[in-house]
């Protein structure tokens, strides 16, 4: 148990050190931009914003389409509302199913 705890502490120290390094790296944009342009060059800023925009675009599009499909299917036929986890409805349907199912004794 002590070994596991020691390993976990070591892992946490290494992870913190790595995260600290990543924090320094986040201050730059991509490697090409930071080496090609000066610190406060507007071109670097322009590239950074453009990269951010282009990075966000596919996630936004896929998110919107996925969300639309998800909610449309939830609201599809035989569904009353777009609840994500309809526990009460599922319990109701399960009870109905158990009541309607014949028992083993009935078959004989």
């Amino acid at each position: 148990m002590t070994r596991i705890r020691t390993s976990l502490v070591r892992l946490a120290v290494v992870a913190t050190a790595l995260a600290g390094q990543a924090g320094t790296a986040l201050a730059q944009s991509c490697a090409m931009c930071s080496s090609s342009f000066g610190q406060n060059d507007p071109v670097q800023r322009a590239f950074s914003w453009s990269i951010l925009f282009l990075m966000a675009a596919p996630y936004t599009i896929v998110g919107v389409v996925g969300g639309y499909l998800f909610y449309t299917y939830r609201r599809g036929p035989r569904r009353d509302r777009a609840s994500i986890i309809d526990l009460a409805g599922r319990a109701r349907r399960l009870r109905r199913f158990v009541r309607a199912r014949p028992t083993e004794g009935d078959i004989a």
């Binding site: 071109v43 453009s50 925009f53 675009a57 599009i61």
Partner: protein, 201 residues
């Protein structure tokens, strides 16, 4: 020779309910998503040149006609209202209103294109061309790409309107009109992004 009846796949006794999103609509959504990525790339390019420039537009280049384009934007927005009216009409089986609203949408779309074309001619006469500067190149590529999409949408609308005149759509069967409307909404929504970005920012 094998019996054809024995090889036939038996049909299910109970017909399955229609999917919540039809295959046609799903295909249209995929097309629109792909088109959105195309425009995202073009907007990304525009952002690079716009944010990197000290003077935008460059001092020796003409300014874009803001007032006329704002009116043109209202024309495009008006066309979405008439398109919605056409969709509602076909859903309740009102053919007369459908044809009127679809025709009005087509006319408004053509009007948008004519005004855009007139503006472009004036801009070229004032010296803003594709090769005059990065400003001109970005403007014509971005707005031109949208204009090409509006042209495709207007052509599609004209065909759909002609079909509506012939009575091709019913309250229960009008997928072609729905898809055309979806594409038209996309084209109009895209303009609501491009207009502030290119003309106002």
């Amino acid at each position: 020779m094998a019996d054809a009846g024995a090889l036939a796949v038996p049909r299910p006794a109970v017909s399955e309910p229609a999917p919540a999103v039809s295959n046609t609509r799903l295909a249209m959504i995929i097309v629109i998503a792909a088109e959105s990525m195309l425009f995202a790339g073009l907007i990304g390019t525009y952002l690079v040149f716009r944010l990197a420039a000290h003077d935008w537009p460059p001092p020796d280049q003409p300014r874009l006609p803001l007032a006329m384009t704002a009116v043109n934007t209202l024309v495009l927005l008006g066309s979405t209202l008439s398109m919605t009216r056409a969709l509602r009409a076909v859903r309740r089986g009102d053919r007369v209103t459908l044809v009127r609203a679809a025709t009005l949408t087509t006319i408004l779309g053509v009007l948008f294109l004519v005004v855009q074309g007139t503006e472009w001619v004036r801009l070229v006469q004032h010296g803003l061309t594709l090769g005059s500067s990065m400003y001109g190149a970005n403007f014509y590529v971005l707005i031109g790409c949208h204009g090409a999409h509006v042209l495709i949408a207007v052509t599609w609308l004209a065909i759909t309107t002609a079909l509506a005149r012939r009575g091709a759509f019913r309250a229960t069967r009008h997928a072609a009109l729905e898809m055309c409307a979806l594409y038209w909404y996309f084209v109009c929504g895209l303009w609501l992004v491009l207009f502030p970005l290119v003309y106002l920012y």
